[in-house]
Structures are given as structure tokens and as C-alpha cells.
């Protein structure tokens, strides 16, 4: 069917009053106008939410307003924004074909134009103005991840979704109800309209029955029940109810033991307050951050910790799926991993006599930088200080370290292939021996020393006496900042990784198992930021180990403009996000954990990845200039 010219004209006229459509070519506007359908949402209607999956439509507000609520914060918090006439949503989710992070609710009676997802992607390809608009929007979003962290990554927000939350907090909308004499046709129409999975039959507000979608087949369709049958004849009478003050845990338990999918929350007088479905409980994390933390800290044996380690991985996947930013997520994973490491150490410590030894458990590499992704090996070591002779205490320390390392392995931190673990006698050393080792690497920077620098110079104390680690770091910074030769070599080493961009700015991919088109997001991605950041931090005496912190603190001293710095930080974040997403995919084998198929990116992500790699190139040329390489 062809589109009506007058209707299109009316739509074009509306669009051309609003950005980005006001700058778009006439043919692109016509393209949109021919495909936009106008839908209506009464006040309070949820247009989109994370549970709905990847959005089928891209929306433009025609009249009215849409309230945007952050998913991790309740509607009562003031993190919401209002989208008004001419504004569009959800740009990020539509371009990424991913569920939205936010919930979009009609703030008043609202008309929205909707564009089918496939048409949205065609528009992205054919209109450079529209593409630019979406890219710019996403870039700002990335820039905001830092802010999001303070706002949304708070224990409180996650706790709200814990099992202790009361049902009244889980109720997401007014329940759909009808009186018992309602015909099935009317009931189904209402359920369909409200996209509700269940209909509650009430009398004076008190639930007397329920009919759910799963009842339709056996009770209505198969027995050929006429649609004018009163709903009371097919409903499940006396549905299971819980007080609205009962907890999510109670509801989960009831569903599990009774084999039901819906629990009705009622008030003191037995009146219906809302329907809690199995889906509502699934959408919530099964384990919240604080509970997990408590479970780790109260674990009395390794078995408990192993379970906590598994839950941690599950929780991280959930959080990533719910759109938690890469920075928050890696920090969250790091924080929880730290917690597990400390608890393994605490459980192991009583079995070993270390009472007259000062010791500190060190994390190296990505763990030291707090940039762990899901598949990270152990990288650890021990530094100690004691009056007693070395050969007397070292066996004790090594035995202790070996047990911790084995415990960590059980908790899901695989053993390091390169033996960078405290159980290795070369990595359980006195403070003095460590300092000597560091000085040696700095004064004679052969390739082996430079490789060691990329692991061990990113050290962070995890347990024990932190002052030992601080003294080691201080020693490191003093020696590197006064040794320009070493800096020079380290910079040269950092530049040996090539930015995988060709002359015409397309990707230079590699072949993996006979298949071309792969990009290694660790080697040709994250490392392009991690290595230069280390050089700049060490040269400027910055003690931080986290790449973002290193860049932030070293940039002003290194003459990097704040705007440039922010672009670089965003670029690194984006690459980390891609890595996390990649590793979250279930089929990923370990050898491929960082390999991305460039073809699988959508056009927008391609653009952003290119832009991110451009920033890596910028960082590299900064190093080149600085060290005349």
C-alpha cells in the first residue's frame, strides 16, 4: 500500500520543526514520513522498559511528554528526565538492538510516532545527518558513564532490588482487573491493550480469581469456550495472595513451592494492590551486591566462597545485560574479586604462623589496575618485612601463598599460565628484594624487563600491611621519573602495538583459525591506552594504577588538553565495554575472549570503534612527540 501524500506532508511538516530532522534532506524526511505510524499512550502507560527486550520501534514524541526513569533507581529518585514534543528515544538501544536501560512512561496523555527498527537502521545508513546525530548522542552518553557511577552505582540502588525488598516496591503498575461477569472477549481485549499477562477478577477490590495467559490454551482455546462466557467460569478461584509488606523472597518461595507464576499483593483489608509475576522477580537480581558482599565476608569455608564466586559472575552478567557502564562494572567486579581474595586469605591465615612477619598481598596486571574483565587469570605476589632470616620465614610464606593461590583457583580465578603468582618463589620477596628487582628492570631495560614492567609496575595492595606496597610504589616512581632512558624504552615498547586502522580509516583485521575479519580488543584495543597511560603516569610520578585515573592525573602534567583527555577516556571506556560484551557471550572460548568480529558490529558501533581507535592514535602520537620516537 502506498502512503498518502497529505498525511506524509503533515508528518514532514512536523518533523522539520525539530532536530535532527530540521537539517535532514527532503528525501530522507519523506522516507521517514512514509513509515511513521502514530500511536497513543495514556498517562502512566509504560512505552518501553528493559524487560521488553530490544525495542521494536524508535519513537518520536508528537504531542505530550515521556518520562525517562533510570532502571537502577526507583521512580521516586530524581534521576528522571522528560522528553517532549519532537524528541526521540531510545537512541542507544535502537542503534544497538539491545534492551533499553531506562523505563519510558507517558507522563501525560501522549502521541508518539513510531518507526520500525529495520527502518531506523536504514535511516542510519542513508542519512548522514541522522547518523551524526545518533553518534553524537551516544558519545555524550559515554561521557556520562562517569556521572552515572555516582548516581546509579550505589549500594542503595542495588539493594532495592534485593530479596528483602517488599512486594509493594516491586509492583510496577496498576493491576488489570475486572468484575466476575466480564466476558472473556472484554477481558482479553483489556489484557492485550495493557500488555498484561494476567487478569485479576475482583469484587469490591478484593481478588476472587485470576486468569493468566497460560490458562488461555487449556481453558479457553482447546475446549472452545465461547468468548462471551463470563470470566468467573474459567478463572482460577481464590488466588494466592501475600501482604504487600511481604518480601520478594516470600514471593519467590511461594512460586517455587506452589508452582504458580503470579502472586497477588494485597493490603490490610485484602484489597488488591498489584500483581507480582515470575518475570518481575527474575528481572530483579537474585542476589544483590550487598548480600553478596556479606556472604563473602561471612563465608566460613572455601565451599561457601566458591558458591559466592559463581554468583558474582552471574550477577556481573546480569548487571552488564542491564546496561551498567563498563567502568562501573569493572570496578564492581574488581571490588568483589578483592573481597573474595581477602576472604580466602583470611580463611587461610589461621593455619599459618605469620605473626612476626609484616606482609602484604599484591595484585598485578589487570587486577592491579582494577580493570578485570570476566576472564582474568590470577596475577599476584607477596612482599614482606621481617627481623628473622629469609631462609627461615620464606618457606612459611610460600606455603601460605600456595594455599591461597589454590583456594583462589577453586573460587574461579584460574592459575596464571606464566606463573605470576605468589606461590612462585621469585614473587614472594622481601621489600628490599622487590626494590632491587624493580631497580634492575629500570636500569637495564631489555625486552624481558619491559614486559615485566607492564605487569609488575601496575601493583596494588590487596591484604596485609599496605604500607609495604606504598613503599614499593614510592621506590618505583622515584627511580622511573629520574631515568629518562627507561621512560624512552617503555614508550617505545608502548608504541610497538599498532593501531588497527588503515590509511582510509578502515579496520586492519587479523586472521584467526583461517577466518579473517577479527580484531583483538585487548592487544589492538585496550593495550593502546593501558601502555601509554603507564608511561605517562610513571614519568609524572602518578601512583595510580587504573588506566583512567592514570590518564586523568597525568594529562594536565603532560600538556594534554582536557577535551582531548575526555575523548580518550571515553574511547577507552567504549573498548572496555565491547570487551565485556564479548566475554559475556556464552559461546566465547577462552582463546577468543578478546577477539571481535568487526562485521558483527552495527554501523554505529563501527563508527564509534573507529573513533575510539583514532583517540588511541592520538595518544600514541603524543608519546611519539614527547619522546621523539
Amino acid at each position: 500500500m502506498t502512503a498518502n501524500a497529505t498525511l506524509c506532508l503533515a508528518t514532514v511538516e512536523f518533523l522539520s520543526k525539530h532536530a535532527p530532522f530540521d537539517t535532514m534532506r527532503a528525501e530522507d524526511l519523506t522516507f521517514i514520513a512514509k513509515r511513521l505510524a502514530l500511536a497513543y499512550y495514556p498517562e502512566g502507560h509504560i512505552v518501553l522498559e528493559p524487560e521488553m527486550g530490544a525495542p521494536a520501534y524508535f519513537y518520536i514524541v508528537q504531542r505530550g511528554a515521556i518520562r525517562v526513569d533510570g532502571a537502577t533507581s526507583g521512580p521516586s529518585q530524581d534521576t528522571h528526565a522528560l522528553l517532549e514534543e519532537g524528541e526521540c528515544f531510545p537512541i542507544g538501544a535502537a542503534s544497538g538492538d539491545r534492551p533499553t536501560v531506562n523505563r519510558y512512561t507517558a507522563a501525560e496523555d501522549t502521541f508518539c510516532y513510531q518507526l520500525a527498527s529495520a527502518d531506523f537502521h536504514r535511516l542510519l545508513q542513508q542519512s548522514s545527518e541522522f547518523n551524526r546525530f545518533c553518534t553524537a548522542y551516544l558519545a555524550t552518553l559515554l561521557g556520562q558513564t562517569h556521572l552515572n557511577m555516582q548516581q546509579s552505582f550505589q549500594q542503595k540502588a542495588l539493594e532495592q532490588q534485593g530479596m528483602a525488598a517488599s512486594l509493594s516496591r516491586l509492583i510496577r503498575r496498576e493491576p488489570i482487573t475486572c468484575p466476575p461477569d466480564t466476558s472473556l472477549a472484554e477481558a482479553f481485549t483489556a489484557m492485550h491493550a495493557a500488555r498484561a499477562g494476567s487478569m485479576v477478577i475482583t469484587e469490591a477490590g478484593v481478588p476472587i480469581g485470576i486468569l493468566t495467559q497460560s490458562d488461555l490454551l487449556p481453558r479457553v482455546l482447546l475446549p472452545n469456550t465461547p468468548l462471551d462466557t463470563p470470566i468467573s467460569q474459567v478463572m482460577t478461584p481464590s488466588p494466592f495472595t501475600l501482604s504487600e509488606h511481604a518480601t520478594a523472597y516470600d514471593a519467590t518461595l511461594a512460586m517455587a513451592t506452589r508452582g504458580i507464576r503470579h502472586v497477588l499483593a494485597v493490603d490490610g483489608a485484602g484489597r488488591l494492590r498489584g500483581v507480582i509475576s515470575e518475570r518481575d522477580l527474575f528481572a530483579m537480581q537474585r542476589v544483590g551486591l550487598r548480600e553478596l558482599r556479606q556472604r563473602i565476608e561471612h563465608a566460613t569455608d572455601l565451599a561457601n566462597l566458591v558458591q559466592a564466586g559463581q554468583d558474582l559472575r552471574q550477577l556481573s552478567y546480569n548487571l552488564l545485560a542491564q546496561g551498567l557502564g563498563p567502568e562501573q562494572l569493572t570496578q564492581f567486579v574488581s571490588a568483589m574479586n578483592d573481597c573474595i581474595v581477602r576472604q580466602v586469605i583470611a580463611l587461610t591465615l589461621p593455619k599459618h604462623d605469620l605473626h612476626d612477619i609484616q606482609w602484604c598481598w599484591l595484585a598485578f596486571g589487570s587486577e592491579g589496575r582494577e580493570e578485570q574483565t570476566f576472564s582474568t587469570d590470577q596475577d599476584n605476589g607477596l612482599v614482606y618485612l621481617s627481623e628473622r632470616p629469609d631462609d627461615e620465614i620464606k618457606p612459611t610464606l610460600l606455603a601460605f601463598a600456595a594455599e591461597v593461590v589454590a583456594g583462589l583457583d577453586q573460587c574461579g580465578f584460574p592459575l596464571c599460565q606464566g606463573h605470576i603468582m605468589a606461590s612462585n618463589p621469585d614473587l614472594t620477596l622481601s621489600l628490599e628484594a622487590w626494590q632491587r628487582k624493580f631497580s634492575h628492570w629500570i636500569s637495564s631495560p631489555d625486552p624481558k624487563a619491559l614486559l615485566a614492567a607492564t605487569i609488575f609496575f601496575d601493583l596494588r595492595p590487596l591484604a596485609g600491611d599496605e604500607s609495604l606496597a606504598q613503599r614499593l610504589t614510592k621506590h618505583l616512581l622515584q627511580h622511573v621519573s629520574s631515568n629518562t632512558m627507561f621512560q624512552h624504552m617503555l614508550a617505545g615498547n608502548a608504541l610497538s602495538s599498532h593501531v588497527p586502522l588503515g590509511l582510509v580509516r578502515d579496520f586492519v583485521t587479523e586472521t584467526h583459525q583461517g577466518q579473517s575479519g577479527w580484531l583483538d580488543l585487548k592487544k589492538s584495543g585496550a593495550r593502546l591506552f593501558v601502555d601509554p597511560a603507564r608511561v605517562l603516569a610513571l614519568a609524572h610520578g602518578v601512583a595510580a594504577t587504573n588506566t583512567l585515573s592514570r590518564l586523568e592525573q597525568a594529562a594536565p602534567k603532560s600538556g594534554i588538553h582536557p577535551d582531548v583527555l575526555h575523548a580518550m577516556l571515553d574511547a577507552f571506556r567504549f573498548i572496555q565495554l565491547l570487551r565485556l560484551r564479548l566475554q559475556q557471550e556464552p559461546h566465547t572460548e577462552k582463546s577468543r575472549a578478546n577477539l571481535l568480529r568487526v562485521d558483527e558490529l552495527n554501523p554505529l558501533e563501527r563508527r564509534m570503534l573507529k573513533e575510539s581507535l583514532q583517540q588511541a592514535r592520538r595518544l600514541q602520537s603524543h608519546l611519539k612527540t614527547r619522546y621523539s620516537l
Binding site: 498525511l7 513509515r35 502514530l38 497513543y40 496523555d109 502521541f111 466480564t182 482479553f188 492485550h192 491493550a193
Partner: protein, 238 residues
């Protein structure tokens, strides 16, 4: 035959001969059962919102110039679900009239052959619910044209928003008011007022809002709206 008898005969038989194909098309429409869209829940039904333009407001003398229709299809307004036609006029309407709907003399003279235009409209609508604002006017203009060109008594049930809106939103207005009053009340802007399609688009948005209120009141289909409209009309007569 006396003049009045001739006149009567004119009302009974078509003044124009339909081709075999045209007769067949008309017969097929007439044989259609009433569309299920009347009883289906709004979420799965199609309602056609209609607006006509004429040479004036005199139901006996004035002629039908244009028909516009926009469908509210499963509660969505889609640019592809619309109907628009200008009927060819032997005599172009008055200058003042043209100023109202903006259909110039040229367009009127080059319009669609009326028989075809009317058959197209019948086929577009099937026998789905028709909605208009002050429906009696659209209904009468269409019926007059159908009688003149197709030679049959066009009878279709209509939903009239002029009655439905005060029945659904008594808090705003108790009885029929002008269309513009309702548009203003709900903040609906009209792209080009008195263009049949554009008026339909605005009226369709009103219809959508009305349906939402109707559902809240337990009315789930077009037939329910018809009953409500009748009740409102009866009540106003008391």
C-alpha cells in the same frame, strides 16, 4: 408521465448506466457481511474516520467534491492506511467554497470519475465502522452521491464523535459542540483545516483519545460505542 412521477422514477432508478464491472463491484460490496471490526476489541479492529468536502452545506442542492478517510488500524494511525479522492465536477463550486477547502476549479474538473471514486471508497471501507464528526452531514452527502451515481440507497451505520465525546467526557462539555472546541481542548493541531485528509487525521486522534476513555469505562469495541452514542442521543431528547 407527469413531472412528479418522473421525479419519483429518477429517485428509484440510476440516472447513469453502470458498466458490467462496476455493477459487479457494487454487488460484491452489497453482499459483504457487516465487518467483524464492529465487535472485535479495538486493539484488533479497524475504524475508518471520514470527512467529506462539498460545494456547500445544503444537503439537497450541494454536491460532494472530495472524500477523505484515515484508518485507525489496531489503534495506530499509519500513513499507508488512508483514502483520498476528488470527484470530477461538471460545474465548479463557488469561489467562496473553494476558499474553504482549497480544491481549485482545475482539480475539480480533473477529478476522478464519480462512479469509480465512490466504488473505490466503498471497497476501501468494506463494511467497517465509519467515524465522523457531525456524521449526519458526511453520511447524507455520501448517500446523495451514491444515489445519483450508483443508483442505490447507501445505508451504513456511523459513529458520531459529536455525540460520543460529550458522552465520554461529560466533565468537559455536556452536549455537542464544534469540532474545533474539542481539538483545542485536547491540544490537537490540524495540519490544514478543511482539507478532508488533514481533518480526518485530527479527528482520528480525537477518536483514539475517545477509545482510551471508552476502555476505561468498560467499552471494548465499536458496537459498544454505537450503544453509548444512542444512549446519549436518547438522553438528550428527554
Amino acid at each position: 408521465m407527469s413531472t412528479w412521477l418522473k421525479k419519483l422514477a429518477f429517485w428509484r432508478t440510476p440516472s447513469v448506466q453502470l458498466t458490467a464491472i462496476q455493477q459487479d463491484r457494487l454487488a460484491r460490496w452489497q453482499a459483504l457481511p457487516r465487518a467483524a471490526d464492529w465487535e472485535q476489541p479495538f486493539g484488533s479492529a479497524r475504524l475508518d474516520i471520514v470527512d467529506v468536502e462539498s460545494s456547500g452545506l445544503n444537503l439537497r442542492k450541494d454536491s460532494l467534491i472530495a472524500i477523505g478517510a484515515v484508518s485507525l488500524d489496531r489503534l495506530l494511525l499509519q500513513p499507508t492506511a488512508a483514502f483520498e479522492v476528488v470527484l470530477r465536477q461538471e460545474t465548479v463550486s463557488s469561489h467562496e467554497n473553494i476558499l474553504i477547502h482549497g480544491i481549485s476549479g482545475n482539480i475539480q474538473r480533473n477529478g476522478h470519475e464519480p462512479v469509480e471514486a465512490l466504488l473505490d471508497f466503498l471497497e476501501f471501507n468494506g463494511k467497517r465502522p465509519l467515524v465522523a464528526y457531525h456524521a449526519f452531514f458526511d453520511e447524507a452527502m455520501l448517500a446523495r452521491a451514491m444515489r445519483q451515481y450508483l443508483g442505490f440507497q447507501y445505508q451504513a451505520p456511523w459513529l458520531d464523535l459529536a455525540w460520543l465525546l460529550p458522552a465520554l467526557f461529560p466533565e468537559h462539555y455536556g452536549g455537542p459542540v464544534g469540532l474545533d472546541t474539542w481539538l483545542k481542548r485536547f491540544g490537537i493541531t490540524v495540519f490544514a483545516r478543511h482539507n478532508a485528509i488533514s481533518d480526518c487525521l485530527a479527528t482520528a486522534q480525537l477518536t483514539r483519545i475517545a477509545i482510551e476513555r471508552a476502555r476505561k469505562k468498560g467499552i471494548y469495541h465499536a458496537q459498544g460505542l454505537a450503544a453509548l452514542e444512542n444512549a446519549k442521543r436518547r438522553a438528550s431528547r428527554l
